[in-house]
Amino acid sequence: MIPGLGQLVRSGVRAVSQYTGMLLALFVIHLLVAWGAGIIIMQILAEAFAHRPLFDDAVDGDLIALLEVLGNAEAVFFSVRWVAVGAVIAWVMIGWFLAGGVLSVFTERPRGRTETARCFGAGGASHFLVFARLALVTALYHLPVLFLLFLGLDHIATELEYALTVGELVVPLLVGLLPAAIAHVIVSTVIDYARAELVLRRPTHESLGATRAAFRATGYVFRRPVALLHVGVYWLFFVGISLAFAWLAQGRAMLGGGGALALLALRQGVALLRLGARVAVIAGQVDLTATRPPPPREVPPAEG
C-alpha cells in the first residue's frame, strides 16, 4: 500500500512529535553553526562601527544612514557576506552527517533518548561519506536548475523592468522562476530519496552506491509524483512562513533589550518551525521508501 500525500504529512508530524528531542538537538547544532558565524559577524561589525553612532541609526531604520554606512564601508560588508557564505557551506557539510542520523532514526525507530542518540550518531557517521559522494554525484543535477534559473531571469528581465501593476510583476516572476523552482524540487527530492534508500537498503545491499542510488531515485521520483508533491508542499510551507514572518515583522520597531530578545525569539521560532517541517518531510520519505522494491542483488560469479 503506497501512502498518499496526506498520510505522508501525518506520519511526518507524528514522527517529529515522537522525536522532539532529536529535533531540538538538530536545532541546537543549527544554532551553533549560525551563531558561530553570527559572533564573527558581530565582531567584524563592532570593530568597524562600535565607535560610529551613524551605524546605530542605520540599524534603527534610518534609510539614508543605512545607504551611507553601506556605501562607505564596503569592505566590512564584503567580509560579513563571506562569513555568512562560509556558514552555509559548513551547514551543507554537517548536513551530510545530520541527514544520515535523522534517516537512521526514522528507519530504526529506536526508543528512549540514549538509544535514539546512539542510533543518530551511528547513522550519521556511517553515512557521512556516502552522502558526501552523493552530493558530488548530484552536483551535476543542479546544473539544469541553474540553467533554468538564469534562462528564466533573462527571459523575464524586460517584463519585470516594464511592470506597472502587481500582476505584471508577479505573473512573469512565477512563469520565469517556476521551471527552475520545479527543477529544484525535483533535484532535492531525488537527493532525498537517494539518501533514504541508501540508509534503508545499504545494510542489506552493500553494492548500492551513491551513483546507483541517485539514478534509482531519479526514476522513482518521476514514477511517483506524490514524492514531488510532498516536497513541494514543504517548500510552499517554507516560503510561506518566511514571507509571512517578513510581512508581519516589517514596520514593527522592536527596540530596547526586551524588543531585541523578543525579535530573536520570534526569528528562532520561525527557524525551528522550518526545521521541524523539514524533519517531518524526511520521516515521510522514509515511509514512502520503505514501500519501494529493494534494488536487485548482484549475484557473485560462481567459483570454479
Partner: protein, 667 residues
C-alpha cells in the same frame, strides 16, 4: 493520479495567467484636436532678443519614422562683428554610425539604454538657400563627424543685420536610446532640425559656439519664435512645444497641426497613436497655466502623480524664481519600453520617467523626475546657460532647486520618501547616492565633454553641485540664499548666464566675497572630509611638579582630583573645501555643547579643550547635517567608548537571513 492531475492544473493556471497580456489594438482614427485657444506666452510681448527664429514645415512618415521638412531660419546678428559663416548642429547624425563622437563617447549606451544597431538615425540637408543662392555644395562638415555643418555665406552678415536661410532636409529617427527616436509606434522627435549655433565672446570678437554632439553634452541655443506645422497620420496624438494654433485634416488620412512657441530656444514633439491626455491647471501670478500629462492608458495611475507633481513644480518654481511665462506645460510620460526618451527637458514640454509597480505612492521617484524636468524650464529654459560648457548651471542648480521645491511640496523630512514607515530627505538621499562624486578627478566647473567619464560627469554635475549649493545655503542662511537665487533668475531671465553671473548674484545678495568657498568647491575635485582625529578626557587635578623659586620652591607630587574632567578634541577637514561647521560635544551627564569651527580662515584642523564636570562621550561634527558637500559622513560622529548594541542587532538579523539560506540548502 490525483497528484499528477494537480501538477498539471497548477502548470495550466500559470501558463494561462501569463498569456493574459493586454493589447492596445490597431491605431484608430482620432478627431482633430481643437486649438489651444491661448497665446504662446501668458503675457504677450517678447521676453528675449529672439535671435534665432524658425518656421518649420514637416511631414512625418509613421512607417519609416522619417521626416521630410523645410525650415526657414531667421537669424539676427546681435554681435558687434560681421559673420561670414553659419554653423548648424545636425544632432541626429550623432546616431548615424559607430564612428561619430556621440557613439564613441557613449559606447552606444546612455543612462542604461543601448543603441539598436539595426535602427540608426541621421539627418541629411539637401538644400541650403540664402535668397536665391544655393549654398549646399559649399557647406562642409567640421569636427570629427557630421554633427556640425558649416555654411559659408555669400556676403557677411553685418552687426544688426538679419539673414534668412531656407533648409530642406530629411531626418531619420533612430530607435530611441538617448532622448530622441522611436519605440514601436511611439516617437519622441527631438534634436530633429538643423539648429544654428550661438555667437559667444567679447563684443567685437565673437566666435561661434557650435560643438560636435558628445554623450555628456546637452544643448545651447538662442531664443526665438518657432512656427511649426506637422503633417501626421490622423490616428496619432501629438504633443509639442508651444501652443496648438490650428489643425486641419486632409483626404489622404493625414492632418496638419500648427504650433507656435515664443521666446524658446528649442522645439520638440511626441507622436503616438495610443496616448491620452490628462489635464490640470497651475496658478501663476493669478493666471492659469494649463498642465498636461500625455500618457498611455496603462500608465494612468502614474500620470496622476506626474500631473500633481508638475502643477506643484510650476507654482513653486514660479514663486521661488520667476513666474512661468508660457501658457502650457506638457509632460510626456513615455511607454516603459521607450525609457531612452524619458527624463529630458525642452521648453514647455518635458519627458518624464519612473513608472514602475515597485515605485509605490510615497516613493517619490516619478514625482522627482517630473519636478526635475519641469524645473529645467527655469534652469535652461528661461536661464539659458551653456549646457555644453557649464552643465552644472542647469543640471546642478536645478537639482538644488528641485530639492527645495520637494521640501515645500512634501515636507522636508519625507521629501524623497514616505513609505511604510521609511522616510528620506532628498538632499541627504542624493548625497548618499552620489558619494562617488568626491572621488571624481574633475571639478564641477568643467565643460561637460571634458569630464573623466559619463558617471563622473553625472555625479559631479548633478549631485555635487546640489550639495555645494545646499552647503552654501546653510552657511549664508536659507532666506538670503533664496533671495540670491531669485535675483540671479530675475536678472538673467531669457539670457545666457554663466557661472560668474551666478556667483555675482550670490555675492551681491549675501554681501560678502564667497571666493573662499566657490573657488575650491567649484574649481577643485573633492569636497569636505571631516573626521574626529582625537578625543580624550582625563580626570582634572591640581597641577603637580615644582612650583616657585628659592625658599618658596615647593614640590607637589600628589594632587587631589577636582572631580572634573579635562577634555581635548581635535577635528580635521582632510578635504579641499573649508566650511564653517558646528561641532557638538555630548557629555556623560547628558549635557551638550555646540562649538563653532569657522574654517573660512583656511585652517585644516581645530582643537577644542574643555574643563567639565563630566567627560565627553560623543563628538558630532555637523550634527544637523548642514554640510552636504562632505564625502564620508561615517567619520563625522564618534563615540568615545564603544557600544556594540547595534552590531548585535545587525548580526541577529544577518544570522536569521543566513539561517534561511542554510535551511534552504541542507540537510
Amino acid at each position: 493520479m490525483r497528484a499528477r492531475r494537480a501538477l498539471l492544473l497548477c502548470a495550466a493556471l500559470l501558463v494561462g495567467a501569463a498569456a493574459c497580456e493586454s493589447s492596445l489594438g490597431p491605431p484608430r482614427q482620432r478627431p482633430a484636436p481643437a486649438p489651444d485657444g491661448v497665446p504662446a506666452l501668458l503675457t504677450p510681448g517678447p521676453r528675449s532678443s529672439r535671435i534665432a527664429s524658425y518656421k518649420i514645415d514637416a511631414r512625418y512618415d509613421a512607417v519609416a519614422r522619417k521626416l521630410d521638412a523645410t525650415a526657414i531660419l531667421t537669424w539676427t546678428n546681435t554681435g558687434a562683428s560681421a559673420v561670414d559663416t553659419l554653423p548648424f548642429h545636425l544632432y541626429l547624425n550623432g546616431f548615424k554610425n559607430e564612428s561619430t563622437l556621440f557613439m564613441r563617447s557613449s559606447g552606444g549606451r546612455h543612462r542604461g539604454e543601448t543603441a539598436d544597431e539595426r535602427a540608426w538615425g541621421w539627418i541629411e540637408v539637401s538644400s541650403i538657400q540664402v535668397g536665391a543662392l544655393e549654398l549646399r555644395p559649399k557647406a562642409r562638415y567640421v569636427g570629427p563627424d557630421e554633427t556640425v555643418l558649416e555654411v559659408p555665406l555669400p556676403a557677411p552678415v553685418q552687426p544688426g543685420a538679419i539673414v534668412e536661410v531656407k533648409l530642406v532636409y530629411t531626418a531619420q529617427l533612430p530607435r530611441v536610446f538617448a532622448r530622441t527616436g522611436y519605440q514601436g509606434a511611439f516617437a519622441m522627435v527631438a534634436q530633429w532640425f538643423p539648429k544654428i549655433g550661438v555667437r559667444v565672446g567679447t563684443p567685437g570678437f565673437e566666435t561661434w559656439h557650435c560643438k560636435p554632439f558628445h554623450v555628456n553634452t546637452e544643448f545651447f541655443a538662442d531664443f526665438g519664435v518657432y512656427d511649426v506645422t506637422l503633417t501626421v497620420p490622423q490616428t496619432h496624438v501629438v504633443a509639442a512645444t508651444g501652443v496648438l494654433v490650428a489643425a486641419q485634416d486632409h483626404d489622404d488620412g493625414t492632418r496638419t497641426l500648427a504650433y507656435r512657441a515664443e521666446d524658446v530656444h528649442d522645439f520638440a514633439w511626441m507622436i503616438d497613436p495610443y496616448m491620452e491626455v490628462m489635464s490640470g491647471v497651475a496658478r501663476v501670478d493669478g493666471k492659469d497655466v494649463i498642465v498636461r500629462v500625455v500618457h498611455r492608458p496603462r500608465q494612468r495611475a502614474f500620470a496622476r502623480r506626474h500631473l500633481a507633481a508638475a502643477i506643484g513644480a510650476v507654482e513653486h518654481f514660479s514663486e521661488l524664481f520667476v513666474p512661468y511665462p508660457w501658457s502650457i506645460m506638457t509632460i510626456v510620460d513615455p511607454p516603459p519600453d521607450a525609457g531612452g526618451a524619458g527624463g529630458m527637458e525642452y521648453p514647455t514640454l518635458v519627458t518624464t520617467a519612473g513608472d514602475h509597480v515597485l515605485v509605490r505612492d510615497g516613493i517619490r521617484v516619478p514625482e522627482y523626475v517630473t519636478i526635475h524636468e519641469v524645473g529645467h524650464n527655469w534652469f535652461q529654459g528661461i536661464l539659458a546657460s551653456n549646457e555644453v560648457e557649464a552643465g552644472y548651471l542647469d543640471e546642478g542648480v536645478n537639482e538644488w532647486a528641485d530639492a527645495v521645491v520637494m521640501h515645500r511640496m512634501y515636507g522636508q523630512k519625507a521629501s524623497a520618501l514616505s513609505w511604510k514607515g521609511w522616510s528620506a530627505e532628498v538632499f541627504r538621499l542624493r548625497r548618499a547616492i552620489d558619494r562617488d562624486a568626491y572621488r571624481v578627478p574633475t571639478p564641477i566647473a568643467t565643460a561637460a565633454y571634458a569630464f573623466v567619464d559619463f558617471d563622473g560627469y553625472a555625479s559631479v554635475t548633478y549631485g555635487k553641485t546640489m550639495a555645494a549649493l545646499r552647503t552654501l545655503e546653510n552657511v549664508v542662511g536659507s532666506q538670503t540664499f533664496a533671495e540670491a537665487m531669485k535675483r540671479y533668475a530675475q536678472t538673467h531671465a531669457f539670457q545666457h548666464p554663466d557661472g560668474g553671473d551666478l556667483l555675482q548674484a550670490l555675492e551681491a545678495t549675501v554681501g560678502e566675497d564667497l571666493a573662499w568657498f566657490w573657488q575650491p568647491a567649484f574649481y577643485q575635485p573633492g569636497g569636505v572630509d571631516f573626521a574626529v582625529r582625537s578625543a580624550e578626557c582625563n580626570p582634572a587635578h591640581a597641577p603637580r611638579g615644582v612650583f616657585g623659586e628659592g625658599e618658596r620652591r615647593n614640590l607637589v607630587t600628589a594632587a587631589e582630583k577636582t572631580g572634573g574632567w579635562t577634555c581635548d578634541v581635535v577635528v580635521v577637514n582632510l578635504g579641499v573645501v573649508p566650511v564653517p561647521v558646528d561641532v557638538e560635544l555630548r557629555f556623560a551627564d547628558g549635557s551638550r555643547e555646540v562649538e563653532r569651527w569657522d574654517a573660512r580662515d583656511g585652517s585644516r584642523w581645530h582643537r577644542f579643550t574643555f574643563a567639565r564636570s563630566a567627560p565627553i562621550v560623543e563628538v558630532a561634527i555637523d550634527p544637523e547635517r548642514k554640510v552636504l558637500l562632505a564625502a564620508n559622513p561615517l567619520d563625522d560622529r564618534v563615540r568615545l567608548t564603544p557600544n556594540t548594541d547595534a552590531s548585535w542587532r545587525a548580526s541577529s538579523r544577518i544570522v536569521f537571513w543566513t539561517q534561511g539560506l542554510m535551511q534552504a540548502v541542507a540537510p
